[in-house]
């Protein structure tokens, strides 16, 4: 990086921020100078319109375009359901779809169970904070970073030479032969799933831990006086008490898992039968010059998320009505 490059970058950032501030400033300036009549609409427009226009241009309109593109071929001509037929007949893509299902089944369940168990076990224990930080830390780092961390764990050296990947070293210690983990299907998909679980468990743990602390102590005490054992108390008092949070955790992790891209991209780039929909979408649309097929895959992703969207909207509307 030359000094000129750096200066260019600084100019861009400072300039960008300055222009942004100027635009906002101008908007409010004109709002203040505008005639008093109809001022409420002007105010509404100034506050709401910029964000809404960006959301419309950046999400709504493109999403509609993508839905239409899904029914076109790579020259932009309408080709009916060809892309979907291709998707469900091409063995590699079928494999991708199956992988996605495996991801969505495993990641939310395992992360939630481990996160919940961990939250319960460390609840009120000494050093709870440190315990939490250790498991929560992967949440803060990038999935690319996580991918590299785990790629190192899975690293392979020929049998006989010294292993530098921890997993193969453990296998060797146990008397086994080292394995090329990331190249060996189907185990590689599960090893990638481990990375996502490693990241999401911390999220599940923090949310569920907060929920557990909110369970009324009186209920737990009452149950204890009734002679229940810890497991029964957990099963019949704590668990119903944190139901809402459990649903939130599972849906949030499910959505994140459906969209998972970085881990696969970094660790295997989707090779060796590890691809998932989000990665395949990228490959088709931006690498293979097949926008129609990429869009069709994006649409499938959207359809898979749709039930969660609808569920959330219903809950949300109920909440707004209460208010």
């Amino acid at each position: 990086m030359t000094t000129a490059d750096l200066i260019g970058k600084i100019i861009q950032v400072v300039g960008g921020l300055a222009i942004f501030a100027a635009i906002i400033g101008l908007l409010f300036f004109f709002l203040d100078k505008a005639p008093k009549r109809g001022k409420d609409y002007g105010q509404l427009a100034v506050f709401l319109a910029p964000a809404m226009i960006l959301v419309f241009l950046g999400l709504i309109y493109p999403a509609i375009r993508t839905s239409l593109l899904a029914f076109t071929n790579n020259t932009g001509e309408f080709n009916g359901l060809d892309n979907f037929v291709w998707m469900f007949t091409q063995p590699a893509i079928v494999n991708t779809l199956i992988n996605t299902v495996v991801w969505v089944l495993l990641v939310p369940t395992v992360s939630t169970i481990v996160g919940l168990a961990y939250a319960v076990f460390i609840d009120k224990s000494r050093g709870e904070k440190i315990y939490k930080v250790l498991v929560f830390m992967p949440m803060a780092i990038s999935m690319v970073g996580a991918g590299i961390i785990w790629k190192f764990v899975y690293d392979y050296r020929q049998a006989g030479s010294e292993q530098i990947g921890l997993l193969n070293q453990i296998v060797v210690w146990l008397g086994g032969e080292p394995v090329q983990w990331l190249q060996t299907s189907p185990i590689n998909t599960f090893l990638l799933i481990v990375v996502m679980i490693w990241i999401q468990t911390g999220f599940a743990m923090v949310v569920l831990s907060a929920a557990i602390k909110a369970v009324p102590v009186e209920q737990l005490e009452a149950a204890e006086i009734d002679g229940t054992n810890p497991w029964q108390r957990f099963r019949n008092v704590t668990l119903p008490g944190i139901r809402g949070s459990l649903v939130v955790v599972i849906t949030t992790i499910s959505i994140a898992t459906l969209k998972v891209f970085d881990i696969v991209r970094t660790m295997t780039a989707g090779n060796f039968n590890t691809s998932v929909i989000a990665n395949e979408m990228y490959t088709q649309a931006f690498r293979a010059a097949e926008p129609g097929r990429g869009s069709a895959l994006a649409l499938v992703l959207f359809v898979l998320v749709l039930p969660i969207v609808i569920y959330n909207i219903r809950v949300m509307r109920k909440q707004r009505e209460i208010r």
Partner: protein, 330 residues
């Protein structure tokens, strides 16, 4: 939570227990007794195992990043005591070396910052304005519009990428080229598309999160300011924003980490050159082309992790609060 229970001096155990309970309630730690039994020895051991398993991969990479290249390539990091060696060379190499084969992360690090700072500020301000409108201005269709925004945060980005890229090529590219001609120091590939993309994609969640907090700002304060003759801009920037500052901090941290850690948006909108591409994109590239250069990869990975880790450890309180607010949306 380190409140010491009051030890009763009575000899009668029954009374003692009752007193104990009373004291517990008094000092607000009555839950301890109930919960204590759940934290049995097995539970502690399991928790310890999970904590260790969760930490070891990162720890291994961290240790390795300070080991000389030959040692990384020939021995496991867990043999560090048998094969001692310590060096900063890996970091020096990935950050400052200008040789063709080095990752030259310095410039990508600057890019990550240059993308993440405006990529946080732009959507945060616009999102706060919209959230304020949703919370405090009555207009027709407000509910529906809000629910739409809320739903959009769940819709996969993949749905928007391709058409948005086409739009950018069509409308933004001429602007970028023009900018380059006027100020040659700004390369033709500049940050504009990535900033705009992050702003667009960040808005729905930001609006939703901030709406909850901004609607809790006391209405009397806003009304009082209005009576005193403050204009809408003053009310928003001088009263609403400062009052919602803790919430804004949480959301800002979230957005910052999201942008800093993002790979997908960068891959599609940055163009991939050292002019714009952030660290994540460079790292992904390196793992693809130089997947066995562990001395570089380990150090490079930590260069990209250091900012999130600092943010995480220093602002953890806000981070957790933002996360809980986002998570309780169900």
């Amino acid at each position: 939570m380190s409140t010491t229970p009051i030890v009763p001096t009575t000899t009668d155990t029954d009374t003692g227990k009752k007193l104990d309970k009373g004291a517990d309630i008094e000092v607000g730690t009555k839950s301890r007794r109930v919960k204590r039994r759940l934290t049995s020895r097995t539970a502690t051991i399991v928790a310890l195992v999970i904590a260790v398993v969760w930490t070891i991969p990162t720890f291994g990479l961290f240790v390795s990043s300070f080991r000389p290249a030959e040692l990384i390539q020939s021995t496991g990091w867990w043999t560090i005591f048998q094969n001692p060696g310590f060096t900063f060379d890996n970091y020096a190499e990935v950050l400052f070396s200008s040789s063709q084969s080095s990752p030259q992360l310095g410039s990508y690090f600057v890019n990550s910052l240059a993308i993440a700072i405006p990529g946080t500020i732009f959507p945060l301000i616009l999102g706060a304005m919209a959230a304020y409108a949703f919370a405090w201005m009555k207009f027709k269709g407000s509910n529906w519009l809000f629910i739409l925004v809320f739903a959009l945060q769940i819709v996969p980005l993949q749905m928007a990428l391709l058409p948005l890229l086409q739009m950018f090529t069509q409308f933004l590219r001429p602007l970028q080229n023009g900018l380059h001609e006027v100020i040659p120091m700004i390369p033709e590939q500049n940050y504009l598309p990535v900033w705009i993309a992050h702003t667009m994609f960040g808005l729905p969640l930001i609006i939703f999160l901030l709406h909850n907090f901004i609607s809790e700002v006391p209405g009397e304060v806003i009304e009082a300011a209005r009576v005193d003759g403050a204009n809408p801009g003053q009310i928003f920037f001088r009263i609403v924003l400062p009052l919602a500052l803790p919430a804004i901090a949480s959301v800002a941290i979230f957005q910052f980490l999201w942008v800093w850690n993002d790979l997908l948006v960068a891959l599609i909108f940055s163009g991939g050159t050292a002019d714009v591409a952030p660290l994540t994109q460079r790292l992904a590239e390196l793992t693809g082309t130089r997947g066995q250069d562990w001395q570089r990869l380990t150090a490079a990975a930590f260069v990209s992790l250091i900012v999130p880790l600092i943010v995480f450890f220093s602002l953890q309180r806000y981070f957790v609060r933002g996360l809980l607010a986002g998570a309780t949306k169900g």
